[in-house]
């Protein structure tokens, strides 16, 4: 079929420059154009190997802002890059771990120590999830067939929903830590920009869980067995409403993305419930 006409050899050199610029020492958000170039590269080449290699030659451990920006960039490439990026990332867990150790155990001179530690913890959890559940893409974009597939085997469906909820809890912990570290001065944009992929990922997970739980209620017809999942779902719903509300107060964030609006109360999940959330 019709493909893009790109100079693959030229792109390789440009990738190195884009990685360097996305992870420079400026205490700002990684520039979208550079992150986008990394993402597009993985699609054009159907490979992320050069992306990882390019990351590893950057002196990002020397500076906590650079380390944090590298983690944001990696997260975005895992989310929006070619699916192969999620697979190839599994071999780089050790490198991610080295960033955490490099950040030490303190707060760091500019206060990124804890954030780096928690970001690595979250990315490892995300990669572990994708290793277990390879049918999901990096942003958990809704695909009907997956919820259908899981409800054929209720045990598998139950486990998948539980794993998704665990990841959702980890996003919630991490976003709280970021909010606690946003300074009321300049230079807040670097930290706030880490919320962007978290908003997108949490919303994708939320939509998936909602649709899978509905499907499970319809096919299983055993509302009691699913009660623990409903309870956890409701709790996560309220936490997400709060998270999105707080994001809505950050002007810089709302200029970058549309923060989703959830109904105040969780939507019904039982088979006979007619109300559907505006997903």
């Amino acid at each position: 079929g019709p493909t893009r006409n790109v100079d693959m050899t030229k792109q390789e050199g440009e990738l190195a420059i884009n990685i360097k610029k996305a992870t420079n020492t400026d205490e700002t958000a990684p520039k979208r154009k550079h992150v986008r170039a990394c993402i597009v590269y993985t699609w054009d080449h159907k490979s992320s190997l050069s992306f990882w290699a390019g990351m590893k030659v950057q002196p990002i451990l020397a500076d906590e802002v650079q380390t944090f920006k590298a983690l944001i960039t990696v997260h975005k490439v895992l989310q929006e890059g070619h699916p192969v990026a999620l697979k190839e990332a599994q071999a780089n867990v050790g490198w991610l771990e080295s960033l955490r150790r490099g950040a030490g155990h303190g707060e760091g001179v500019r206060g990124y120590g804890k954030l780096i530690e928690e970001y690595v913890f979250f990315l490892r959890a995300k990669l572990a999830f994708h290793r277990q559940h390879q049918e999901f893409n990096g942003t958990f974009e809704y695909e009907e067939y997956i919820s259908l597939k899981s409800i054929n085997d209720p045990n598998e469906g139950y486990e998948t929903i539980t794993d998704l909820m665990t990841l959702q809890d980890q996003i919630d912990n991490f976003q709280k830590l970021i909010f606690a570290h946003i300074p009321h001065t300049a230079h807040s944009e670097c930290r706030i920009s880490a919320l962007v992929p978290l908003v997108q990922e949490s919303y994708g997970i939320y939509k998936f869980i909602t649709s899978m739980l509905r499907a499970m209620h319809t096919t299983l017809g055993d509302d009691d067995a699913l009660a623990p999942l409903r309870e956890r779902y409701n709790m996560q719903h309220y936490r997400l409403v709060k998270f999105y509300y707080e994001c809505g107060q950050l002007r810089y964030l709302t200029s970058l993305i549309t923060v989703p609006r959830l109904p105040q109360d969780p939507p019904g999940l039982l088979a006979e419930d007619d109300e559907r959330p505006g997903l």
């Binding site: 079929g1 493909t3 893009r4 006409n5 520039k31 979208r32 986008r36 993402i39 597009v40 699609w43």
Partner: protein
């Protein structure tokens, strides 16, 4: 870039007629693209494979242009939207296969010299176009029925 420089570039860089049309429709001029130009480009995607690729190559370059040339990006999204409706089936295939180019523009950012957020229109257009390309049924029905989408794509005056 001024009109004169653009026409000189068109000659020295050896752009074909179809490519000149796309370049003019997606220029940095603060107006356009007008419906008649887009209709002409859409018709040209039916001509032959070489012409089709010439057109898509320019659109691709423009879609990946830097922030300062945000009008190139915005106008190319409009032209692509138009061609998805009125152009050859190859345009649909191209857009599906390369959807990441459009998807990743949903976070496009550029603040101009006056501090205006000129990326907003691009983010909205990219979001709409992504949704359309992913919704096969809707695209099919919009390709059949002009009225349902014409008001959205035409009537672009100033950016």
């Amino acid at each position: 870039m001024s009109k004169v420089v653009r026409s000189v570039k068109n000659v020295t860089k050896g752009y074909t007629n179809a490519q000149v049309k796309v370049r003019n429709a997606t220029s940095n001029d603060p107006w356009g693209p007008v419906g008649s130009d887009m209709a002409e480009i859409a018709q040209l995607t039916f001509a032959d494979t070489a012409t089709f690729y010439e057109i898509m190559d320019i659109l691709d370059k423009r879609l990946n242009d830097k922030g300062k040339n945000w009008r190139h990006v915005l106008k190319s999204l409009k032209v692509l939207d138009y061609c998805l409706h009125e152009g050859s089936e190859l345009v649909v295939t191209w857009a599906r296969k390369n959807i990441y180019i459009i998807k990743t523009l949903r976070e496009f950012q550029h603040i101009d010299e006056d501090g205006r957020d000129v990326g907003q229109n691009i983010r909205v257009s990219a979001k709409e176009l992504t949704a359309l390309i992913m919704d096969e049924e809707r695209l099919r029905s919009e390709r059949r029925d002009r009225k349902s989408w014409k008001s959205r794509v035409s009537g672009i005056d100033e950016h």
